[in-house]
């Protein structure tokens, strides 16, 4: 210190007094003047020397640091992810209950959200399918599909696709070897593609002075575009179908940066073994996406969300149209049937107020139009009909009217020949008389022909009359002698005559049995006529001898003029050498009058 003090003394005599001040005092003075600053400097020096952050300081800064870094990029999250995953895994391993309890409140909403998303996706799919099926565009696509033989789904995809990132390849920059690619099954020759992509990049670099033009970033083939993002150690290539958006290269670049950050060492040390890069696949998969035109439109077009309404409405409309068409068909058919119906003339039909209005004329004897329509499936509540009565001259109606007025008995059939009503069959005589008087008075009937009606007998007389009329009393040729069979037949006839006479009396009928004699055609007709008369007379005499009243029998000779038909001439000759009987009966005048008065 004296050596130090000497030069001070020599150089500046005015400061000699300081030489007397002890070092300790000087230190004390310095402390007094600069104490606080010195301590701060010492602390700063210590911090610089140690270059460590104190835990309390870190605790102070950490939250802010996290916020700042998170706002800047995703690196913090990426860096923390493995640690957080490990921590969660460890926690679950130790005590699953804690985690289960913690996430319980979010599980329910998450599940509900997932279900809602699924349902919404389903509705979206239906809407899209319907939109493609029913729109003119959809029909055009159907035609294209049919024409080209390409499945419809592919045609839709081709047209609706804005872009789809189909494959993503991570390629080692130096060697062109494939590090990873997604999706796994997409590209059988991914390693070759990877090499060729690199070779193409190299070719472009060599050929076009990349420092001026920039490196190969994209190339296209057809509707495929390959986007290439280059990095110092690896390149990322995306195979895109459609038109890739401007945002896609930035996304690829961000992914490539993350890979460079996280796989820096493996990329540097890569020697052909790509095992380390399997873990990049989740990052690559984030780049795979499909965007359809319908997705973008759906966001703006609210109407498209309810596209499913269209087919429902169409179905309803079609159903109603089908039903209406069906009803109209039924109505037309019923109307046509009605118009062919005798006695019904439809003049006008119209549809108003949800009902059918029908106007026309109807014969009272025609069928009931309502019943006819109901039988054809028409709801008659929907039909308002106005029928004017008229008299139809159609044969069917004329017949109906004749039947109604004349009330023919069961044995009579009525028909028309021109405007003449023809009756045939057997009927009681009084009906014949009445019909003869009434029929010409009916509208549409010009005349009545009753010539085919034979007067009928009451039921108890009719069979006996038939039996009697079937009897034949046969004779030998040229003879009028009654042999044994003839006598027997006559006896039968006499018995039956008694019975029918009794019945006729009971019925108040006047009865006559005509005895008709015949002869075969052989010989002169004069002789035959005489022979037939003799035969008839012989039979009459025999009957009278058996007790028949002379007033009830009458003889008639026909010779061979009214022969009984037979199949062969021999049979005809045999059957006509005979006598037959005809019963004529009609109500006795006195009896009928009495009946009518009663």
């Amino acid at each position: 210190m004296p050596e130090n003090g000497a030069p001070l003394t020599e150089s500046a005599g005015g400061t000699r007094d300081l030489g007397d001040v002890s070092v300790g005092e000087l230190s004390e003075l310095r402390d007094l003047l600069f104490g606080a600053e010195r301590r701060q400097i010492d602390e700063l020096r210590r911090r610089l020397d140690t270059a460590e952050i104190a835990p309390d300081e870190l605790a102070e800064k950490l939250p802010q640091a996290i916020v700042q870094r998170s706002a800047r990029d995703r690196q913090l999250g990426i860096a923390l992810a493995p640690t957080v995953e490990n921590a969660i895994r460890e926690s679950v391993r130790r005590n699953p209950r804690e985690i289960a309890t913690a996430i319980f409140p979010v599980l329910g909403p998450a599940i509900r959200k997932a279900i809602a998303a699924t349902m919404s996706g389903l509705a979206n799919t239906i809407n899209r399918a319907i939109e493609h099926s029913f729109s003119p565009q959809g029909i055009r696509w159907r035609v294209e599909s049919w024409r080209t033989g390409v499945p419809f789904a592919q045609i839709v995809m081709r047209h609706a696709l804005v872009y789809r990132v189909e494959q993503v390849l991570l390629v080692h920059a130096e060697t062109g070897l494939l590090l990873a690619h997604v999706p796994d099954d997409s590209l059988g020759d991914a390693d070759l593609v990877s090499g060729m992509l690199t070779a193409i990049g190299d070719f472009v670099n060599d050929s076009f002075e990349p420092k001026k033009t920039g490196e190969l970033r994209a190339f296209a083939a057809g509707d495929l575009t390959v986007l290439v993002e280059t990095g110092p150690r690896a390149n990322l290539a995306a195979v895109v179908r459609g038109t890739p958006p401007d945002s896609l290269p930035a996304k690829l670049q961000a992914t490539l940066e993350t890979i460079h950050l996280q796989w820096c060492d493996p990329l540097t040390a890569f020697n052909g073994d790509a095992t380390d890069f399997t873990a990049t696949r989740p990052l690559l998969e984030e780049c795979i996406e499909t965007v359809l035109a319908t997705d973008t439109r759906a966001k703006t077009g609210g109407l498209r969300r309810i596209a499913w309404v269209i087919p429902v409405l169409l179905l309803l409309a079609a159903g109603m149209a089908w039903r209406t068409a069906g009803r109209n068909r039924e109505w037309s058919a019923a109307l046509a049937r009605l118009e062919t119906e005798p006695g019904i003339a439809v003049i006008r039909t119209e549809r108003s107020g949800g009902k059918w209005h029908i106007t026309g004329m109807r014969d009272p004897l025609a069928v009931n139009p309502s019943l006819l329509m109901a039988s054809r499936g028409i709801d008659t509540n929907d039909v308002v009909a106005h029928w004017e009565p008229y008299v139809s001259t159609e044969p069917a109606l004329l017949l109906a009217r004749a039947r109604r007025v004349l009330a023919p008995p069961a044995g009579i059939t009525l028909s028309f020949k021109g405007d003449t009503l023809v009756a045939s069959g057997r009927a009681p005589a009084f009906w014949i008389v009445r019909a003869d008087g009434l029929a010409p008075a009916l509208a549409g009937i010009g005349a009545v022909d009753l010539s085919h009606v034979t007067p009928g007998l009451p039921a108890d007389m009719e069979p006996i009359a038939a039996e009697i009329e079937n009897l034949r009393v046969l004779f030998a040729a040229g003879s009028d002698a009654l042999d044994q069979p003839a006598l027997s037949t006559i006896a039968t006839a006499a018995g039956k005559l008694r019975r029918i006479a009794t019945a006729a009396d009971a019925n108040r009928y006047d009865l006559t049995m005509r005895i008709v004699g015949r002869a075969d055609p052989t010989g002169a007709e004069t002789d035959n006529l005489a022979l037939s008369r003799r035969r008839a007379t012989a039979v009459r005499d025999r009957l009278l001898s058996l007790g028949a009243k002379a007033s009830r029998v009458a003889v008639e000779a026909t010779g061979s003029g009214d022969p009984i038909p037979a199949d062969t001439p021999a049979q005809r000759a045999r059957v006509n050498r005979s006598v037959s009987f005809t019963i004529r009966a009609q109500p006795s005048l006195t009896g009928n009058v009495a009946e009518r008065q009663r």
């Binding site: 060697t175 062109g176 790509a274």
Partner: protein, 179 residues
């Protein structure tokens, strides 16, 4: 699986593409196709327990004065030099070609395929030439893309060499004394 990039280099029409065709597809065509730029093919080779996927960069052959683009060579794990035994210049070019390859890809395992052995009668390369080549640090095999001789061996040797220290090719002595 390990992948390795193998570059095939040599003067034009030495048979690089034919060797790849023979090795990968077991095919040979006498028709000459000039390769433009580079063609890449792939062949899996079993080396011990290891499957090695060789990506074969069949690089366009050039004339002696033209250099192969360095960009195709960079990152190569192995190089197959191809020379044509019937054309002396293809053989003489090998040394300058090696210098160029080394500047681009480094000193990676490599082997010379002295090709067209099926035309041995027309060969202009002698046993002395072979010895000169081996003396210069080359490994060498005679090959024929047409008959398939030596082709599998050449690629197999390269595949093994990319994984381990390269063994001495077993057929080498035959070549040395073969002419």
């Amino acid at each position: 699986m390990i992948q390795k990039k193998v570059c095939m280099v040599g003067v034009f029409a030495t048979g690089k593409t034919s060797l790849v065709q023979r090795f990968v597809h077991s095919l040979f065509s006498a028709k000459y196709h000039s390769t433009v730029g580079v063609k890449i093919d792939r062949k899996q080779v079993q080396v011990g327990t290891e499957q090695v996927n060789l990506l074969l960069w069949d690089i366009e052959g050039r004339t002696a004065e033209q250099e192969i683009p360095e960009s195709y060579l960079k990152g190569a794990h192995a190089v197959l030099y191809v020379a044509d035994g019937t054309r002396r210049e293809t053989f003489e070019q090998l040394f300058s070609l090696r210098d160029h390859v080394r500047s681009a890809a480094g000193d990676v395992p490599s082997i010379v395929a002295l090709n067209k052995y099926d035309l041995k009668g027309q060969w202009v390369v002698s046993a002395d030439d072979g010895r000169k080549l081996i003396g210069g640090g080359f490994h060498m095999l005679t090959t024929s893309a047409k008959t398939g001789e030596g082709v599998e061996d050449a690629f197999r040797w390269l595949a093994t060499a990319t994984l381990t220290a390269p063994p001495t090719p077993t057929v080498q002595p035959q070549v040395r004394h073969g002419n």
